[in-house]
């Protein structure tokens, strides 16, 4: 059982390069710039702020040293150990970061033997703010150097590293998936409001849907969490099916790269082959690596062998890892490995008896079952079954989004419209979202 992780109690941390590499082609300004960008990787997504100082009182002292340099981790010449950093804490070395000056430190170099300074610095600063090594090969915190991670100006942390650091410090407001919808977009300063006539300068947005009285454009399980999309917003549930926030998040603030004019999505699913996330709208689709769209998208859905007109639903069935696309009364079975629609499709009668003939979306869940959504209801098909489980459909809002039993007249009435669960919450459902104020994000990854 690893010791409890240590982290900084303060959010503003100073840093300074105290000693520079002696025989390196990298000039001092390059080294300082690389340190700046390596720290920025972490401050971009957490509430931490780093600023460079000149004095010796910096929180994070950065040194290039050789061999034994008076700490517990002597270096060993070229190769072997290349750097280390000290975890946050009360000791005077907390946060300090040491690079082996016997290494050939490089930047944007094709030299396979060099050591990319930006890459190693991102890793070491992960330690300096509290992260320990992990075995995950995609993580920046795995212990072995595996070559440059890419351009410092464009590098983004792998998803598992983001979640781990969010667990230590929470999410930086600007990337928070549950940021208050009426907070102005940081990139685009909001249009100046009319001269105040005792109205609030930022009128609450009218288009925010209410989770208890709507049906959803798309539903997907992404990295074990459930996402319910409606218009330009989405709700997120953690792996143990807890609603992250009563407030919806804005799609464009979290899923980076969708065109801002996109007012909704048709379907979303996570590809089993590479865990990338595919968004569909009309005849186009986008592929996301983590929450950033990949280069070259959107592309036409004909790539999947689908006809124009878009799709209503998409999901990959846990039973055979095939991907199913639905449109009106038709469905296509698609093989992610051959990247082709299976022969005999489209077809009319999908494999699961009892699901509705048209769908809003479908998803597989961590219990192995398949869930089909239409209107304000959902149908459940147990793992390895081919028929809807008895007692379905059930109300989506009550079972997934912490809403009260839908009353016949609750749609419009003030009392029931928010339908939020209170004392009536079903067993296993928290009657309060973890983030009552809709502000912080609690992502549990296990």
């Amino acid at each position: 059982q690893a010791p409890a992780p240590t982290r900084w109690s303060k959010r503003n941390l100073s840093w300074r390069v105290r000693t520079f590499p002696r025989d390196s082609p990298l000039g001092r300004d390059t080294v300082r710039a690389l340190m700046h960008y390596a720290l920025k990787v972490w401050s971009d997504i957490t509430p931490l702020n780093f600023h460079e100082v000149a004095g010796s009182a910096a929180d994070i002292q950065i040194d290039f040293s050789k061999a034994d340099h008076n700490d517990r981790y002597p270096f060993d010449g070229p190769g072997g150990t290349v750097a280390h950093a000290f975890f946050p804490g009360d000791h005077h070395t907390a946060g300090d970061t040491h690079f082996d000056d016997d290494e050939a430190w490089t930047f944007r170099s094709a030299d396979a033997h060099g050591m990319d300074l930006f890459t190693v610095a991102v890793h070491e600063f992960g330690h300096a703010i509290g992260l320990s090594h992990v075995a995950a090969t995609r993580s920046i915190m795995q212990p072995y150097y595996q070559g440059p991670v890419g351009d410092p100006l464009r590098y983004g942390l792998p998803y598992e590293d983001r979640v781990r650091i969010w667990q230590l410090y929470g999410v930086r407001e600007s990337v928070s998936p549950t940021a208050q919808p009426d907070t102005p977009e940081p990139e685009e300063p909001p249009a100046l409001p009319e001269p105040p006539d005792n109205r609030s300068s930022t009128p609450p947005r009218k288009d925010v849907p209410h989770r208890c009285s709507t049906h959803f454009d798309a539903v997907a399980q992404i990295r074990g969490e459930a996402f319910f999309f409606k218009g330009k917003y989405f709700w997120r549930l953690t792996r143990d099916r807890h609603l992250v926030s009563l407030q919806p998040a804005q799609v464009h603030r979290f899923w980076r790269g969708l065109p801002l004019h996109l007012d909704s999505v048709d379907a979303v699913y996570e590809r089993t082959s590479d865990h990338k996330i595919v968004f569909f709208k009309g005849d186009r689709y986008w592929v996301f690596k983590d929450n950033t769209v990949e280069e070259g998208y959107p592309r036409p859905i004909s790539d999947f062998g689908l006809p124009p007109g878009g799709v209503d639903a998409a999901f990959s069935w846990a039973h055979n890892d095939k991907t199913y696309f639905f449109k009106d009364q038709l469905y296509w079975r698609y093989d992610e490995h051959t990247r082709r629609v299976d022969p005999g499709h489209p077809a009319r009668s999908p494999p699961w008896r009892g699901i509705p003939s048209t769908l809003d979306d479908a998803m597989r869940w961590s219990d192995g079952a398949a869930y089909f959504f239409r209107g304000q209801e959902y149908w459940k098909v147990l793992d390895s079954e081919l028929e809807v489980a008895p007692g379905y459909p059930q109300p989506t809002a009550r079972d997934w989004l912490v809403c009260r039993e839908p009353q016949a007249n609750s749609a419009g009435s003030g009392a029931g419209v928010d339908g939020e669960a209170g004392a009536h919450a079903r067993p296993g459902q928290h009657d309060r979202s973890r983030s009552e104020d809709g502000y912080e994000v609690c992502s549990c990854t296990s």
Binding site: P3, V82, H84, M115, H123, E124, H133, A135, P143, Y145
Partner: protein
């Protein structure tokens, strides 16, 4: 797999101790590792490094031990002290 050479074995034991897979060698008693402890430590290191956990100091494992890396241990010392108890 062919039995590792003596120098590989000593490199391996020193490496495993340095990165938290074995308790640090006790200079006074010159503590020797049991074969079983060594094999467990090798398997743990192989799992952490994404290799097949054979528990044997094979080529791939030795190569990974020679890969440039961060100096910090992979497993926190607390595990070892617990194991020693």
């Amino acid at each position: 797999a062919p039995a590792p050479r003596a120098e590989d074995l000593s490199l391996g034991v020193e490496w495993l101790s340095r990165f938290g897979y074995l308790p640090p060698a006790d200079p006074t008693t010159g503590q020797l590792q049991t074969q079983e402890e060594l094999s467990k430590a090798i398997a743990a290191m192989q799992r952490f490094g994404g290799l097949e956990a054979t528990g044997i100091l094979d080529e791939a494992t030795l190569a990974l031990m020679k890969t440039p890396r961060c100096s910090l241990p992979d497993l926190p010392a607390v595990i070892l002290s617990r194991r020693r108890r």
